[in-house]
Amino acid sequence: MPAALDAIVSELGEADRQERIELLIDFAKNLPPLPDRLAEHKDAAHRVEASPSPVFLFVELEDDRVAIHADAPIEAPTVRGFVAILVEGLSGASVEEILQVRDNLIENIGLPEILGMLRVRGLTGVLRRLKAEVTRAVMARASAGPAPGTQPTV
């Protein structure tokens, strides 16, 4: 697990219920705004379908590192907080590290306890979509040919 995500898991894992609620609200409040170049692409193609609130995910590859940008409404702090955790915990991680994040991340950061089981289901969809987007970005790059500076295989 990337160190940044590991630190978040430990912090939330050690927090009591009320502290966890406050931490999640802090994450929701501190989600960085989308860069202008992405903000204009909040469209169906970037919207996470399995979420009751509009969540937009943007994944970009920079060499072998993944840059993640996301947006979700402040009126839905639960999903926005979770999205902020993914952005903070996984931005700059490698493709492999992101694909290895398991769905039980949601349990590991203690969300079922504060949200109830019914409410965490939508969050699993956000994590899955993130992994799917990373895979898609890798495939797109592969089909576009070898990255600059790499030796083509014969």
Partner: protein, 284 residues
Amino acid sequence: MGEPYVHPEVLVSADWVEQHRNDPKVRIVESDEDVLLYDMGHIPGAVKIDWQGDLQDQIVRDYINAEKFAEICSRSGIANDTTVVFYGDKSNWWACYAFWAFKLFGHKDCRVMNGGRKLWIDQNRPLSTEVPQYPHTQYKVEGGHEAEIRVFRDVVLEHSRAGKPLLDVRSPKEFTGEKLHMEDYPQEGSLRGGHIPGAVSVPWSRAVNDDGTFKSTEELKAIYEGEVGLKSTDDVIAYCRIGERSSLTWFVLTYLLGYPKVRNYDGSWCEWGNLVRVPIAKGA
């Protein structure tokens, strides 16, 4: 103003709430879909009651028992004669659900703040993150109204067979069977899609305006009486997926239009869509 609601006293305005929020006889209760909203800021003095964590039994699929309900009221500073005003996100749909649950236990004076959380915030009214503490009360559950407002599957089956009015308040794609949950919500929970035979599709959200307030009597009558053909004397059952959206429709028909016999089938599609051998209809 046009024709008044039949029971206008159950709906209070944000102004009324601001004037009464320090009234010891009034308790403001926030009930939301997103459980973090209360902690981000709520009407000063409001307490939080969560439909899932507080009002539902955590083992059996049912509401809490009378003893547990009395405990929640006691710790929230709600006495038997307290005026309880519910408000929340999503056009008050969870607020109506909590209202309905309070009526299951027979709480007398329940109201809904028109416009809910969104309108309060849009009007720049005060918010607080302080969780208030109230002296505990000696709440005593005085017999509920479950038989009048809640209905179980066997009765729904008879109701469907008898061709009595059934309102499906889910989204159109859930009604036709194309989706098992609202668009964009995780598609899980029932094995079959469709609706209860004889049900008419009237999505819950048609009863509210964009700002979260309820539509006028004329507008509501145009939908439920003009389009659907209901009469105020009808025996009506409303359902959705788990009974939350239909509690808003139940509220509208019972209090705003004054229908005396409306029941909520809280088993709803999550039960019906999983039952073996019950009839199901698909398509529009």
